[in-house]
């Protein structure tokens, strides 16, 4: 009975912020992921390129998202990603899940996870898996 796109009472939609931190301009993946999330029924706010961690966190709070997906292909993730997690904590918004996608040396992945990034998606991960992870691990805020 429910028309697609209308929420029943008590049923929340997952909201995700897809963000490109830093100067990296490779956005092919981020845009494809945004489409995939939309096709899975999520509401996706796309931040655009060249965002500072501060701008990303501010947007995440204003948009009350459940998850931030950070995309990086130019190697600056070790500073940028943990900084986002840090700022979320400062602003009392660390219930927002943070994930990353893009190009990462293997040994950086455990370091990023330790810094608070819940999951890292490397090249070749099927869209189904990326979407499935959200469906399994991200609850719309109660």
């Amino acid at each position: 009975m429910e028309r697609k796109g209308q929420t029943k009472q008590g049923q929340r939609k997952v909201r995700i912020l897809v963000a490109k931190p830093g100067l990296d301009g490779h956005d092919r993946g981020a845009r494809i992921i945004a489409r995939a999330y939309r096709d899975a029924g999520f509401e996706v706010v796309y931040s655009g390129l060249h965002q500072t961690p501060e701008e990303i966190v501010q947007a995440a709070i204003q948009e009350d998202v459940d998850m931030i997906g950070l995309s990086s292909l130019a190697g600056a993730h070790m500073y940028l990603f943990p900084r986002v997690v840090e700022l979320l904590k400062e602003k009392g918004a660390d219930d927002i899940v943070v994930c990353g996608g893009g190009i990462f040396p293997q040994e950086d992945i455990p370091k990023l996870k330790k810094a608070g990034i819940k999951e890292i998606f490397t090249p070749g991960t099927p869209l189904k898996e990326v979407v499935g992870w959200v469906e399994e691990h991200v609850e719309p805020r109660q």
Partner: protein
Amino acid sequence: MFKDKVIEKIALDAKKWQQVHQEAVAKTPERLRRFSTVSDYPIDELYTPLDIQEIDFTRDIGFPGEFPFTRGVQPTMYRVRLWTMRMFAGLGTAKDTNKRFHLLVNQGQTGLSTAFDMPTLMGYDTDSPKARGECGRCGVAIDTLSDMEVLFEGLPIDKITTSMTINPPAPVLWAMYIAMAEKRGISRQMIGGTIQNDMLKEFIAQKTFMLPPKPSMRLITDTIEFGTNEVPRWNTISISGYHIREAGSTAVQELAFTLADGIAYVEAALERGLEIDSFAPRLSFFFNSHLDFFEEIAKFRAARRMWARIMKERFKAKDPRSMWLRFHTQTAGCSLTAQQPYNNVVRTALEALAAVVGGTQSLHTNSLDEVLALPTEEAATIALRTQQIIAEESGVANTIDPLAGSYFVEHLTNDLEEEAFAYINKIDDMGGMVAAIERNYPQMEIADAAYKYQTQIDSKEKTVVGVNKYYTEEEFPVDILHIDPELERQQIERTNQVKECRNKGEVAAALDRLGEAAQGHENLMPFIIDAVNASATEQEICDVFRDIFGIYRDPGVY
């Protein structure tokens, strides 16, 4: 192409063969439901003279070095001189990259190619808050003329050409190169090389942007004009399709959008009052070499023929050199996988082979570890050896344009040309490439193609070995390159040192004069050269442009 009687007989025989083929397929079905290239271009089971019937040898194929240059821009091609082996390199600081340059030259590369880090690419100094965490990570950090001097120390830049992959701040880095050469006693008439300097493809695909489209075109036209008059051996622009393909476009889109960009640049230069034959010979191109072997070869041949026709018929060029599409090629980064990285050596080899059979003027081959990090010395050396083995052992460079006359390749070349011209006509109807970009037309086409390709991989309609087929849990550890985070602090210190020692009055005056000229119509290159000689930093110069022309922001097309 063939006499009527002959073609009639072939048509009959072909029909008979088709039946035989159908019957065989009815018994044992074909491997795939549908055969297509990586761009999803449909491929038939067989090509015959029937498929090239409308080709006229002289008009469409011809001879190398003769219009329409389908077979190559020079009459001798690799018989006299192999393509330039030019490995894209850049990491950490100028000193680190200089070391890598020397290694590659010692290992036999014949041209230099510079990769810059994100802050440098975007016109920021290492100490900018926007640059935090990015120093040296995807290329070399260059803030001042002093860095440029260290970068090329000990290298014979009067004998070897240098390519610099730099876009919005291209005039600044070029000015630094010119100033560095002159300080070494090498005149600007002597130096040879290329700056990428192609902003239209930035707006479409690579997205390192700084200024809005119109002022970007102004700066590019300034460099074309300056090069024509003062730096005659320099290619002031490398009109690029590589990045368009990396962003997910099809081969036809890569071809069409690149040439459409070229048309826009030619029109801008003509509007400036330059004579077509004075600058066109120095326009160069940069293409991707992707996985589908034959599609890429056909693409390169179609590109040459299309550009020759465009220059002759549309722009009325008289000098044959204006009609030459000279291009650099890079093998497709987006085709490499993080899984089973050693497979990438094979992918790169096949892609390099296609580029050579396609007649490229210079070539960069990717390293196997580039999906993970900047390349190690070992990986970069294997990539270089790949080119050397193709050149010396495979035999493909023994004759010019070996695949000409192939029913398949000639048919594919024709088709790609036809489809690409359809796109170009559409863009013309919109008012040209700048207008099309403002409408987000090429960006949307690319985003759609990228998404389609991804869904085809996810559904296994298209195979990626080691990823969606022949996958293994086994790990293949590869040594990767690490960039020391300390470098950032050191680089900032270096730049501060330069700022201390320079004449502050001179810098301020030079920047003022630049600002004034920017608001007028003078060619800005001489002013930029003055500023770099006074040791202004890259960002100081770019900030002048930002203040006057404004900053371009990502419109976020998805």
